[in-house]
Symmetry: C2
Subunit: 317 residues, 2 copies
């Protein structure tokens, strides 16, 4: 299997079948107040209530259960101090296989503890991208574990795409969809699934102005890799992947950028009106609707709340 390819709708349907026993069917919430504020009819897909508190479990679970028995026996491996590391640890536990997570020094303790609680082995490295990759490569040689990339892996993208199948079933009649854009694994899976079901769906991405490489890359027509992320949205600091960018372009995803101030205000509004407390990265979608109401007025919009792993002791306001 070519792990670098883009998934097809068949890959996404296969993923849905693979993860059905383990993933939550997350609820879709609505709010008359937020509809009145935005002029759109918003359907919030609450992946913050997914296992592990983020949509990442879908992709990780698909990657784990797609392994053949020989591969599975050697375990899985990733480098991530965030939701993907936790998701892979939880997914590995559902199959009873080893998970190795390379985590840079300085990562949030609560996240490291969650990964350890899930039964994964945590490997500490220096807080640089190079150190992560060196340690991951070394572990891969030593253990033979399968490396699962957080967003550029075909099985991961297919798993994330299952969310769109689920949402379109739960809220039929949606005519637009929006996800945050970081590395682009979610946006890619969702775009492929959504357009397979309904080619007329209009797709949007939300990106922090301080990590707007996807917006710039789409505007320029080629991948911009010089952006140095400067945003509170820790889940959206990754550069969009090459294949992911290709998919965003092919599916005409319109990326809207929002400031951190707008995002934090949207996070507070989501808490006040929906009583869901989401990660700051997740609030970019509501911030984008509020920023560009003319793009959404009168539409029925599915918006993905991606994660809920908030540190209550360090709220961004």
């Amino acid at each position: 299997m070519n792990r670098d390819a883009l998934p097809t709708i068949d890959d996404i349907r296969a993923a849905a079948a693979r993860i059905a026993l383990f993933a939550q069917v997350t609820p879709v919430l609505r709010s008359d107040v937020l509809d009145a504020l935005t002029g759109a009819r918003l359907h919030f897909k609450c992946e913050n209530l997914q296992r592990g508190g983020a949509f990442k479990f879908r992709g990780a679970c698909n990657a784990v259960w797609a392994l053949d028995d020989d591969q599975a026996a050697r375990g899985v491996l990733t480098h991530s101090s965030g939701n993907h590391g936790n998701a892979l640890a939880l997914a590995a536990a559902t199959r009873g296989i080893a998970a190795h997570v390379v985590i840079p020094e300085g990562a949030v303790r609560a996240k490291v503890e969650a990964i350890e609680r899930a039964g994964a082995t945590v490997h500490r490295c220096a807080p640089t991208q190079a150190a992560r990759e060196v340690m991951a490569a070394q572990l891969q040689r030593e253990t033979g574990a399968v490396f699962v990339h957080p967003y550029a892996d075909v099985l991961v993208m297919a798993g994330q795409g299952t969310l769109a199948l689920e949402l379109l079933h739960q809220a039929p009649g949606i005519d637009a969809l929006m996800t945050p854009v970081g590395g682009g694994g979610l946006a890619t899976g969702v775009a492929i699934a959504a357009h397979a079901l309904d080619p007329t769906l209009v797709l949007f991405g939300a990106e922090p102005a301080g990590a707007d490489d996807a917006a710039r890359s789409l505007a320029l027509g080629s991948r911009v890799t010089t952006v140095v992320p400067d945003t509170l949205c820790d889940g959206l600091r990754a550069l969009v992947g090459e294949r992911n960018l290709e998919a965003l372009r092919a599916h005409r995803v319109e990326v809207i950028t929002v400031s951190d101030e707008e995002t934090v205000a949207a996070m507070q509004l989501l808490w006040r009106e929906l009583k869901v407390l989401v990660e700051v990265s997740s609030a970019t979608v509501l911030a984008a609707v509020l920023k560009r109401p003319e793009r959404f007025a009168g539409r029925r919009v599915g918006v993905v709340l991606t994660g809920g792993n908030v540190d209550l002791a360090a709220l961004p306001w």
Copy 2:
């Protein structure tokens, strides 16, 4: 209509029909980690995601829509600085009628603001029960508004009972149900609805040790009114109503008391494992399961998370 009577299952079904257009069908969440911790299979009914952030909207909405047009024209009235006041304000707005909410000085500002945002008229009074009642009576004389009691009103109890109809539909096969017990409106409605559908269901209540009047009243066989509430659980400080107590006894509701420490730990656990942030009062149910695991082991238990109106700036840890 005798507003002091207990509701029947027909009243509860009528309530379900009345509120269907306005109330959210709240999700039911599960957690393998919490199941493993408790030895039970827990189904969390997330009324924290109900409109207004609490189950109270069900009862208030039923009370508002059961009014005939003449009554409705005069509006509704209650005294509450908490979720019932907010729920009644929101319910009145769905019918476009006036709501008057008597609120004692010193009430949490965020709650008062929410009530005002919903369009209700807030009337301030001194922070005593007597002052509340005097002002409510005066307003009733002046406006002719219908008084809607937070838990002793038959329409309110019927509205709260709709939650059990919904939960038993969403999670068939449940063999036990638990709610927190304050005034007892929720526990009463749920008991009547649940036993009408399945007389073999085992019913539990959770009560703070510092406001254990229902537990004491059931043990003693008569209503104890001497308890002076001393608990963080602000939603559960009311004395259980007379009719409510009668219903708890008739339906053999077993009330388990828990300390505030146990409840706060359960609140943290709910946040960590389910990513739902609930009011401290709501966490009593998980605290009760953890305290008396032998009562729940092997059971499929529906537990009601009653509200999510948490002040993020004043978490109880």
